[in-house]
Each structure stands twice: as structure tokens, then as C-alpha cells.
Symmetry: C2
Subunit: 335 residues, 2 copies
């Protein structure tokens, strides 16, 4: 292994000077700089960041904790985060919490002992959380996508309420009246917000009824099951608001089994815009979540915190979605 000492010796300068060259600090005499650079090149020297970190007490690494590394939902989020961090010369430690609170806590602790400069956390969703724990962490930590009640940390979230309201309103404006919701679990805050958005739009038009609410989880299977139930229980469904694209997918196949046509017989509104939604037959009308931007915003926030030039007050970014009008919702001409 070649170290800064070797470079210093062979260049005929001191380690301090070599360090200055490497870090572009101070003005090193051109002659020396060139000599040092030449030696570095000839010995294929790579500065040891571990040692530099220990000395500087700064690692230029940040930890990213996601509930599931393989989830297609987070891929764009991860991309936004990773690209933005990279531009700023930070590296990422990728960790998975596997949707498990204990694991999440373990992972955070692991990260802390690696002296990372900050954490971006997509929290595990759960009603009861050990708030204390997060509050004591000294380094900056940004929450993404899922809110934790009572935690005083910066956060970037998606506007679930507004998106669901817009989606439902769009259905209503296009002459749909009986619009059940195929919901996610009640303890999920993001679903709860989507539910509220749907409910508000429905109530404003005196369309709300308790019997229109179906509960399940975010999966395709659950969507399938809820849709069958809805078709069973409700006579003339105009449209269905699926609170996730996967649920919509399940709904689509259930409707297909009933020999009904989308959107002619029933319109289907998704939520989330996963990668393949536009390739489905019919392509899915849905609410796009700008995950890349959410990631980017989270990183900006984090870097501001790391640099320290930011007010103490915590910040909350609520990123709006966008309605993607495709083929699964019947649009009325007089709209």
C-alpha cells in the first residue's frame, strides 16, 4: 500500500505539502505541485478516505434507509437521492429496514457508528414508534415519504390528500357518481390521507357513503379481492378509486373476470404511477408521484443541515402529484 508518506519522500516534499496538493489547499509552488502529481500518478496512489475522515471528523458519506431495496416504488426516489448526492461528492450507504422497526433501529445505529454525515430515512410505517430514539441522534436526519407523528425532524412527503382529491374530483367531473374506494390499511398514514382526499371530494358532491369504503392492503391480491367484493355488493359502480396502482391492477383483473370492460363499463383510477401502469391494457389513469424530485429535495435539505447554514426550525416539504390521464377512465365529452 502506498501512503502519503511515500509520495512525500519520492517527491522530495513534506506530507503537509502533499496533503495540500491533494486537497487543492493553499498555494503550493507549481513546481512542487507538478512533481507531487507526477509521483502520485506513477505510484498509482489513492488517498485513503478513511484516514482523512478520522482526521477531519467528516466522512462525506450519508446513510439511506429504505424499507425494501427491491421495491419498484422507491427506485426513482433512490435515483433522485443518489444522483443529487453524487453531484455533491457524497457517497451513499444503502440500508434496508425490511419494514421492521427493530431492524430500522439497528440499521440507524450501525450507520451512526460509521460516522456518516447525515441520514435520509424512509421510515417503516407503524403507529407506535420509539420517538425518543430518533430525537437523540446528533447528525442531521431527513424523513422521506412517510411521516412520523410527533417527530421533530425535517421531512419531505408527497401530497396524498391533494392527489386523491384531484383524482376523485376528476372522476366526478367526468360524470361518475358511484365511486367506491379500494383502500390500503388503516394504520398507514399515507393511505389515510388518500382516503380523506377521496372522502372530501365525495362529500362535497354529496356522493359519500360508508358502504363505498373497502379496506385491504397495498397489494395486487388485495385489490383483486376488494374489487370482487365491491362488484358483489354494489349494483352499478361507475368508477373505482384504487388507492395504489397495484390495487388498481388487481381491480382490473377482477373486473375482467366479471366480463366487464374498462373504461366502458367501469372506470379505474390508480394512484402512484408505477413504471408499468402506462403499458397496461388499458393504460392506467393515475396520480404520478414525483419521486425523483422528492429525493432531490430531501438531499438539498440534508446538505443544508449538514453545512449548518439553516435555521433551527424544522422544514416540511409537501410535494404535489400530477394527474396522468390515460385510458382506464372514461372521459365525458361535455367535460
Amino acid at each position: 500500500m502506498v501512503t502519503i508518506k511515500d509520495i512525500a519522500k519520492k517527491s522530495g516534499v513534506s506530507v503537509g505539502t502533499v496533503s495540500n496538493v491533494i486537497n487543492n489547499l493553499k498555494s503550493v509552488k507549481t513546481k512542487n505541485r507538478e512533481k507531487v502529481l507526477e509521483v502520485i500518478d506513477s505510484l498509482d496512489y489513492k488517498p485513503n478516505k478513511i484516514a482523512a475522515s478520522l482526521s477531519k471528523k467528516k466522512t462525506m458519506n450519508v446513510g439511506l434507509i429504505v424499507p425494501d431495496v427491491s421495491s419498484p416504488f422507491y427506485s426513482d426516489l433512490i435515483k433522485g437521492i443518489s444522483e443529487t448526492l453524487e453531484i455533491n461528492d457524497y457517497n451513499i450507504f444503502l440500508c434496508a429496514s425490511n419494514n421492521n422497526l427493530q431492524k430500522e433501529e439497528k440499521v440507524i445505529n450501525d450507520l451512526l457508528s460509521m460516522w456518516i454525515d447525515g441520514i435520509i430515512l424512509i421510515p417503516v410505517y407503524s403507529k407506535k414508534r420509539n420517538l425518543q430514539f430518533l430525537e437523540t441522534i446528533e447528525i442531521p436526519i431527513i424523513l422521506v415519504n412517510r411521516e412520523i407523528e410527533g417527530i421533530k425532524k425535517d421531512i419531505v412527503i408527497f401530497d396524498n390528500f391533494g392527489g386523491a382529491y384531484e383524482a376523485t374530483d376528476f372522476l366526478i367531473k367526468n360524470n361518475h357518481k358511484i365511486i367506491p374506494i379500494l383502500g390500503g390499511p388503516e394504520l398507514s398514514k399515507s393511505f389515510e390521507e388518500r382516503f380523506q382526499g377521496w372522502k372530501e371530494a365525495m362529500e362535497e358532491n354529496s356522493l359519500y357513503e360508508n358502504s363505498l369504503v373497502f379496506r385491504g392492503d397495498f397489494s395486487v391480491e388485495s385489490g383483486h379481492k376488494m374489487m370482487l367484493e365491491a362488484l358483489n355488493r354494489i349494483r352499478s359502480i361507475d368508477a373505482v378509486f384504487a388507492s395504489s396502482d397495484l390495487i388498481a391492477l388487481g381491480a382490473l383483473s377482477a373486473i375482467d373476470e366479471y366480463k366487464l370492460k374498462v373504461p366502458d363499463d367501469i372506470s379505474v383510477m390508480g394512484f402512484g404511477d408505477i413504471y408499468l401502469s402506462k403499458f397496461l391494457k388499458p393504460s392506467l389513469t393515475t396520480i404520478r408521484r414525483p419521486f425523483y424530485n422528492i429525493g432531490k429535495t430531501a438531499v438539498s435539505l440534508l446538505l443544508d443541515r449538514i453545512s449548518g447554514n439553516m435555521q433551527k426550525k424544522i422544514t416540511k416539504f409537501i410535494i404535489k402529484g400530477k394527474l396522468e390521464i390515460r385510458d382506464s377512465v372514461k372521459v365525458s365529452i361535455d367535460n
Copy 2:
């Protein structure tokens, strides 16, 4: 910040003893161990891995380089890698090469200066590569999914040839005769292998013809375009072998535009088994790539290399795919 010194002082022992407690080394007197553990707990001390790494010359970190962090293709691979590494107490540096050779080289260099213990690399695909560069790296490096000609490194790849052969053979066995291939780019080795697999199966049955070959890239749009071309040029297509699921997706919509039915009029065979393939209408018959296992295998190899107890000879794992029979291929009864 609380350090090992603080613990030592407060526990009334030396730093050496504290270190021994932390690392479960030697036998520390039970009394002392308990005292130290108690103090560690009370001060919420977290050992600094950076410092430990510098001292031990081992970081327990490995670098993972993927062409695109947001690609759904790699998500299961990343999961297999991350879960297997985690079990072994390693952490991951996630880096993206953005399908760019220069970027890939930069990222590798960045990783090297972080003193990681090894690298798992999904290489950028390209015909001309700077082999020299990879060969000089001192730490273990495992190639995954894409081969680089002439590089003497351990590698874990998917059996593209075998998978394509099996897929095509399945079509033929089910009475399909005119089976064009919707191909990827010629410079992609993995596609080239799929092409060869298709070709071999076709030739063995005297079904091969040059005019059955269509070239594009791996995208949905390309699949759509190639399929339209095929429908235009070839009279009675029995089935189509799409060399990726995305291509199959594009083909499906092109066939739909032609008012033809899958699988009644034309069968469609995909390749790759992406997440949503089984939710399409009709669900896609395809070759599943066991990415999770590929990732797991790569990690095993890497850890063996890191531990040093492995022969010098390089290893090449070729992981077989699995035919997923679903609805897009018409199965003959007499099969």
C-alpha cells in the same frame, strides 16, 4: 462525542480492556466486562468504525456498482446482494455508473479510496473496455450479469443462451413454426446469447430464417416498432420471441393495434420476468431470471475471496433460468 477513552476512564479500566469487551476478545474478567458494558450503555457510546477500520485495515464495507439504481431489472439483484451482505455484517456502498464507462471507472476509483473490502460490479455494457484498469485492482471484485471479454475476474451470470433455447423450444413443441425474434442491440452480449439460443432451437427444427430476425433495443417502444415491422413483413406469424419482457410489452400493444388476439392469433414469449409480467392481460409467459440468487451467489464468492480461503483460479457461475408458463403462449393439447 464519547470515545473509548471516556469509557475506560469511567469504568476504571484501560482502553485496551474496553476494546476487548467491545470485540468480545480474550477473556475479560466478568466484573470488568459488566462494568464496561454498563458504562457504555449509560453514556450511549457507539464505537467508531472509521477509527477501527483505520486500525484494522478492514472496513466491512463493500461497494456495489449498478448501471442504473432505478432500473427494476436490478432491484431483486440488489436485494439478494444486500440481504446476503447484511447477514455477514457487511455494509454496502451503492454507486451508479449510469451506463457510462468513464463514470464507472471514476466510481471504482472513489470506492478504492474508501478502503472497501471488495466490489460487486454490474458492468456497463460495451464492446471496448479498458481491461488493464480492472486487472490492477488489488481488492476482490466480482462481476455480475454481464461478462467482459478477457477479464480474469470471478463472475456470476445468467444463462441467456439456455433460457432462450428453452423458451423457443417450448414454442416449437407447442406447434408454433413461424417464430420471429424481437431482438436487442447486437453489441449486447446477453442479447447475442439469447439470439443464439433462439437460433439454435430454430435451426434444430429447420425453422430458422434470416428474415425472422428483428433488431432494436431493450425498450417497450422498440418492441412495439419491431412487432409492427414483423406483422408488416411476415404473413402468418405463429409466435414471437421477445428477447426482453419490455419488448414483449411493446409487441403486445402492437398486436393489439392490429386487432389480433394473444395467444389465439399469436403467441408471445417474453424474457426476463419483470415484476408486472404476471399481471398483464394476458399474463406473460416468460423466462424468469433468478436475480436474487445471482446476487446471493455473487456475495458468497466475494466473501470467499475476501477471506482468502479460495483457490487462485477464477470461478464462473452460470445461473439457469426458469420457464414461467402463463397465458400469452397458446399451448397445444397434444403436447
